[in-house]
Structures are given as C-alpha cells and as structure tokens.
Symmetry: C2
C-alpha cells in the first residue's frame, strides 16, 4: 500500500467548508469524487486542517493509501483534469508509511487579511474583511504579544467544536500593513495578521482576529486580552471575524 501526500489549494468561496456534509459542495466531497474517477474506487482522505465554509487554503495537506502504480509525477495533472477549477493540486509525493496529515503537523500557519478602509476594492471582497474605522495597529500588535506562547485558549474556542484539550502553543503572531498589487501600479494597503502555532481550536483564529480588531477599535485594551485569556470563557472575548478573510498558508511536518 502506498501512502500518497498531496498539497491542495482552494478558493473557499463556493465551498461549504472541508468536511463531508449531506447534499453540500465541500472540499472533501469534490476531492474524493475526483479520486474515485481516477482510481475507480473509494479513496479515504486524511487532511491536516478542517477549514470552515468560505475559508481559503494554499496548502491543505492530504494523504491517502492506495494500491495503484500511477507515478507521483502524473498525479497532479491527472487530478487537476478531474477537479473543479476552484481547487488545484499543487504537489504530489510519496510519503512515509506512518505519515498522517492530521496528526503529524508540527506547525500550521494562517493568514487573515483586513481591508481597513472604504470603499472595498471589488477584487478583494472575497479575500479580505472590510473594517471601516481606522485600526490602531500598535495596540493590536501589543495585544498579539500576550497571545504568543502556550495557553489555554478556551476563551477563543467556539462552543460547537469537539475539542477537549484547549491548550495550544502560538509560536508567532505578526501584524503587517503592506501594499498588495494585482495590477501594476494599482496598490491596495492591506493589514495581514499571520499566526503560526502547533494547532488551533475550532474557529480559534477567527476569534483571535475578531478580538484583536476590537482592540484596534478601542473596544478592548491591549492588556485586556490577558484577562480574556485567563477567564477561559468564550463570552468575554471579542467577535468572530468572518470566514472569507482567512487562509491556511502553510503546514509544516
């Protein structure tokens, strides 16, 4: 039995998230449909991260076991010819026997984009969250510092998740303010919030971003974030940032 690892990018806009859901267009459903067409059998896939409806990914890691002679070099083109155009296999490789996309990751990196202005550039509307009032980035960066490290993140975990252990480690939290150009000479300033950690609870990144935006708007002080962490109570943290600003950037094994 070969253990194949593929790296998958998708535009989350038109997917009801990653997981299978009856009657819904999800990433796993489309992927397993394509794998079924390619291998003429059901292929069970294991993924590194569950992404919610609307969340994007540049490098979702997937592995599956298969008894088939197709060379890895052919898998990318073969799958892409069967997948819808809002998802693309970027890479395929032979993985070690014990490689497990879900349990093996050392670090996951997410990036959240905010357009801090008005009107919203039309081509960013499905990639970035529009926040109109000017954000205090200094205060947000200060608050982000308190979140780095090993903490119980219960306050940032949506209650409907099935997490039991709420301790996670955030390695870094970088808030950038850079210009993004799609066309030459046309630049948009976009705030990017990049967070790396050993794992994230259900909706944790979006809850962290929502709370940082509350800090940026002066609704919560930077040091207030320490109290939110300590309280271990979802009700004390800020709002949940919308899904479409979030992208899974990297999974390191």
């Amino acid at each position: 039995m070969r253990n194949i690892k593929i790296t998958l990018a998708y535009d989350g806009t038109d997917f009801c998230g990653f997981e299978l859901q009856p009657g819904k267009r999800t990433v796993r459903r489309e992927l397993e449909k394509a794998l079924h067409k390619l291998f003429k059998r059901h292929v069970k896939t294991i993924n590194s991260s569950r992404t919610d409806s609307g969340v994007h990914a540049l490098c979702q890691a997937i592995n599956f076991k298969i008894d088939h002679s197709i060379p890895t070099t052919r898998i990318v083109a073969a799958l892409n010819s069967l997948l819808p155009e809002d998802m693309r296999v970027i890479k395929a490789e032979e993985a070690k026997k014990d490689f497990h996309a879900r349990y093996s990751p050392k670090t996951k990196v997410y990036e959240y984009l905010i357009y801090n202005g008005d009107p919203m550039p039309v081509h960013l509307r499905k990639l970035a969250w529009q926040v109109k009032p000017k954000l205090d980035l200094k205060a947000m960066r200060q608050a982000a510092k308190y979140l780095v490290g090993r903490h119980d993140f219960s306050s940032f975990c949506a209650s409907c998740g099935d997490d039991k252990n709420f301790v996670r480690t955030i390695h870094s939290f970088v808030i950038g303010n850079s210009s993004l150009g799609i066309w030459q000479g046309v630049k948009y300033r976009v705030i990017s919030i990049r967070v790396a950690g050993n794992g994230f609870l259900y909706k944790m990144v979006r809850n962290l971003v929502g709370t940082l935006v509350d800090v940026g708007q002066g609704k919560l002080s930077s040091s207030g974030v320490r109290k939110v962490l300590r309280d271990r109570d979802r009700r004390v943290a800020g709002r949940t940032a919308p899904a479409h600003g979030l992208c899974l950037i990297k999974v390191n094994y």
Copy 2:
C-alpha cells in the same frame, strides 16, 4: 442641471458586460437601478468604455446630468449602499458642463494578466489567463514595439463591432513579468501586458494580446506582426485572448 462624474470599479466575472441587454445582469443596468433608487427617476449614464462580459474595470468613468441638491461628498456612500458588492463607486465629482465620459478621454489604459504556468493559482483564475507553454517575452516585446504608434488596426478588430474608422494610436505597450502577492510570502509570477492608447476598437486589446501570445509561442514571428497590421484583415491576426484577463486600469481626460 449638474453634470456629475463618477469613477466605477467592478469585478466583471458575473456581469454580461457593460451595455444594457434584455434580461441580462449588466453593469449599466445595475448602476441605473441604483441611480433610480437614489434619485427616484431614470438617470441616463454616459460611460468612457464598453467592457465585454467578464472584463474588469478599476476606473470606468461615467457621467450623468441631474437636477438634485445631493452634495458630491455623499454620492459615493449613497450609491455604494445601493449597488451590489461586485461594483463600487470610488469617486464622485462635479464635472464641467461639457464633460462627456465617452468623447472626452485623451488616453485609456488597459492591463492584461497572464499566468504562464501550471497549475493555475485558484485565486487568479478569474483575473488572469492561464497559458501553459513558456512564453518568449523578448519576442513578444519586440512584436509589441511594431504596434506602438498610429495605425489602421482593422486586423485586430472583431467584425461584429460598429466601428467605421479603424485608425487608432497606441502610446505605449509594456510587457512586465513581476511577482504578485496576495498573502505575505506567497508570490505568483504574472505577466502583465499594459497598453495605453487614444482609444481601442471592439475586442482590439484582446486580439492584440492573443497575437502577442502567438508570437510568444513561436506561432508567429515578431516581425510577422508588421505584416498582420499591413494586411488589414482580421483573419491573419492571432486568436482573441479570453475576457477575464483584461482590466480597464485608467481613463485620462
């Protein structure tokens, strides 16, 4: 009667072009619907450029005459609250009495994006044309030089247009190869073809780009483009590049 000029950006993906068409979702239809809601009367709009189905714009210029006291400072927010999210008014200003969006432009600038590789980045699929074989940019730049200047562009005009005079002036034709970043640290190399001119015939930019891509793939020599120009025959030029790679970048008055 005031003469108001507005600057409009739109994502062309879900529009059947700019012009009114019975039963179709077009840019003018959505704009005039919003203007009707705002001013409680039909408002006739004049636009700088007709864009085809799928073509984007960052600065379509529009003017309309209106007898209404609304301050220009309020028009942007008022219209944006009524428009769908794939179109945004960027700017509103009081124009001179004789300003005419269609007849007054001195220069129009279009940019065409090509992703020269495989697989296609999912977030570029509605903004750039995927061309898989490696393009010879040097040959394309040489060919583009022959197109700059005042020429009869009949060979690059789609037959179904209503143009009668085929002479236009191309001021500049710049082919860039730069990296485009949406998320930090994630860069895509994209070829951008930027053309500035005093006006363009029906589908002319897409026909020019298609012909340059034929040059980049060795199907036509750089100097062959001179013969294509001279022949004044649409059949001798290259293919028409798809609409979704094209964007109206600038209109100068």
